[in-house]
């Protein structure tokens, strides 16, 4: 566990780190977007010194610089170790399928939030996450999700005076 080491970061030197290279390219793209966006900011003549464009240009430049440096590192095959966590198995191969399941659940949830209401959307989200984490009992998950969302909905709207969409349910 590194606690204070600067630059000597990347470990495994092997073939080109494709994922990292793609990220670096995305960052360069983002930097370019920031640069263009900075030019689009309207500047009133009064503030021509340090105006609203100064920092955006600075940040855009920094993003481009970081992107290029990261790309160089990636092409040399230097990676940084992925993050550790209580529930993370670093030796396992990373598997994108559960991630996609959750993304689908979240997309549906967001779409249904206003028409169908918070409780139903949240139940859907809960069940999709549980499914992604390997739970086999969909009915049970929907049940628990429903109960949890209902409790959350009631406590936040009745006790804490916040508003959440009720959707099609008579709440």
């Amino acid at each position: 566990m590194d606690a204070g080491e600067g630059g000597a970061g990347g470990s495994w030197t092997s073939r080109v780190a494709v994922g990292d290279a793609l990220l670096a390219l995305a960052l360069i793209g983002y930097g370019a977007y920031l640069m263009v966006g900075a030019g689009a900011i309207r500047v009133l003549p009064v503030y021509s010194r340090i105006g609203p464009r100064f920092f955006p240009y600075l940040v855009a430049g920094a993003a481009l610089l970081c992107g290029v440096l990261l790309l160089i590192e990636a092409l040399r095959g230097r990676r940084a170790p992925p993050e550790a966590g209580e529930d993370v198995d670093l030796l396992a191969r990373d598997n994108l399928r559960p991630v996609l399941v959750i993304v689908a659940g979240l997309a549906l949830g967001a779409a249904l939030m206003e028409p169908a209401g918070f409780v139903l959307a949240a139940t859907l989200i809960f069940a999709s996450v549980a499914l992604a984490f390997g739970s086999r009992s969909i009915v049970r998950d929907l049940g628990i999700g429903l109960a949890l969302s209902l409790v959350a909905y009631l406590s936040f709207t009745r006790l804490l005076d916040l508003t959440l969409p009720a959707g099609i349910l008579p709440l």
């Binding site: 606690a3 970061g9 920031l34 992925p82 984490f133």
Partner: protein
């Protein structure tokens, strides 16, 4: 003394029935959420933020402070009993604490952690009480150029201390800065990066970024690398009431840890890792039972735990007196202040003494409540560790969604949350630390404002940052923080090569 008077006044605010209730709710929620694996203190605070929306500022902040301290206590329980620690500052506790648990002395480990946390928390809060007014006096001498230099220092320490690579820390910071740019430029009223959307005129809320990066990002990441088979929870054995030798071996580490942790927490040094590691190293050096280290030495739990909690209190010093967050958790609390329209800093102390001193007073009370909650009742909380992961993460996303949606009842916010969450997933996957992004996002606009103010006052003269002594000193320290570690590492390598060759 003025300070004691102010503190007593604070107690009169904190000891009202409703504020005591908020403190209790806060510490309980903080402990419960802090125990849940996979949820660190920053996320605990971010997820529970919506709970505070409907309350008055004083009650809300008292609850907040309770959540903050409670989260730290809860986290230690997890690292002792679960053999898979997550949070870097808890790893040290886990090393010795978990070993103690495996050898049937888990209860003593929990006790020393809880009591040590209480001692440290109290000492640190006392330090906070007396240091804060001094810092406020100092802060009044800060001009915009000095504030800007201070923020640069915060940026450099956050990027060079956290994570394994300075470049990735910088990238994360730059990403945060870029997010912070979205919205209306306060000084000129011009829209920046809003893509013509009315929604984005207000910028993206820090809460969305924090919850997205921490909750959603973490969930995606854990989903992609799931641990198969249950993590083993050590049963709590032994007596909670430590025996004489355990007390004897613990009390000095508690004190040393407390005094070590507070300054590190108060300085923009990026978090609690350094003091906990230092405390461990010191305790190992000074211990009469060195051979036990690595197999369950109680000093290795007592010292670092105290340092951890003390640093957490120390973080409140720059936050309250300067409005400078020195950790991701502090950044979220700053966002919470801003939501109420309050700006922490020297003015807050003079304008809202009830709030500030009520908050500080309730820290003492909260600490005491936490000791009671964590020691005798720990058996109840432990059951939370066994919560099945599918349900845990499902719950996390439900609350993340709820918290984000209730900010402004907007589905666009939810989409932003999920997109940022996905970015957080990518960041974790490729070894980019997440905390600098949150800090960059909240400090970026502040740094820009101070820079432009400084330039306006100096009429465009850039050298003002180097001619003011305070600003110059801070910038030099920042440069050291950034360039010293790699230089030292390179020198070390050269020395080793020379010795070998």
């Amino acid at each position: 003394m003025e300070t004691l008077e102010a503190l007593l006044h604070g107690f009169s605010v904190a000891l009202t029935f409703s504020n005591l209730l908020w403190a209790f709710v806060g510490v309980t929620l903080g402990t419960v959420v802090g125990i849940l694996p996979g949820i660190g203190p920053a996320l605990t605070v971010a997820l529970l933020l919506p709970v505070t929306y409907g309350l008055d500022p004083v009650g809300s902040f008292i609850m907040f402070a309770g959540i903050y301290y409670g989260g730290m206590y809860g986290g230690s329980t997890t690292s002792i009993l679960l053999n898979t620690p997550g949070e870097s500052a808890s790893i040290i506790t886990a090393v010795e604490g978990n070993q103690m648990a495996r050898r049937g002395r888990g209860a003593a480990a929990l006790a020393t952690a809880a009591i040590g946390s209480f001692v440290a928390g109290t000492i640190a809060t006392v330090a906070l009480t007396f240091v804060a007014p001094v810092m406020v006096q100092l802060a009044l001498k800060f001009g915009p150029a000095d504030y800007f230099a201070l923020m640069i220092l915060a940026f450099t320490t956050v990027t060079s201390v956290l994570g394994s690579s300075v470049l990735r820390g910088m990238t994360s910071l730059v990403f945060g800065l870029a997010l912070g740019l979205i919205g209306i430029d306060v000084q000129t009223g011009q829209a920046r990066y809003t893509l013509g959307s009315l929604q984005l005129l207000d910028g993206i809320s820090v809460v969305i970024v924090a919850v997205g990066l921490f909750a959603v990002g973490e969930t995606f990441y854990v989903a992609s690398r799931q641990r198969h088979g249950k993590a083993h929870i050590e049963p709590i054995k032994g007596s909670i009431w430590m025996n004489r030798s355990e007390w004897g071996r613990s009390w000095r580490p508690w004190l040393r840890g407390s005094f070590l942790g507070f300054p590190f927490g108060a300085l923009p040094a990026g978090g609690a890792e350094i003091p906990t590691f230092l405390s461990y190293a010191i305790e190992k050096r000074l211990s009469r039972h060195k051979e036990e280290f690595g197999k369950g030495a109680i000093e290795g739990v007592a010292g670092p735990e105290a340092a951890n909690n003390s640093a957490a209190a120390g973080v409140l010093v720059p936050l309250l007196t300067l409005g400078l967050p020195t950790s991701a958790t502090a950044a979220i609390m700053l966002a919470a202040f801003q939501q109420f329209g309050l700006q922490p800093g020297p003015l807050l102390f003079s304008r809202e003494p009830d709030l500030v001193w009520g908050l500080i007073a309730s820290l003492y009370i909260g600490n005491f409540m936490l000791l009671v909650l964590n020691l005798p009742l720990v058996g109840i909380w432990v059951r939370l560790l066994a919560i099945p992961r599918p349900l845990l993460y499902g719950g996390i996303l439900v609350f993340a969604t709820l918290g984000t949606y209730s900010l402004s009842n907007s589905v666009v916010d939810l989409i932003a949350l999920y997109v940022i969450g996905f970015i957080g997933f990518l960041m974790r996957r490729h070894g980019f630390p997440v905390a600098p992004a949150v800090i960059g996002m909240i400090l970026g606009p502040m740094a820009e404002a101070q820079f432009r103010r400084a330039m306006a006052i100096s009429q465009g003269d850039y050298s003002v940052f180097l001619t003011r002594p305070l600003s110059l000193t801070l910038l030099i320290i920042a440069a050291l923080a950034l360039f010293a570690p790699p230089l030292l590492a390179a020198l070390g390598r050269r020395r080793a090569a020379r010795a070998a060759g």
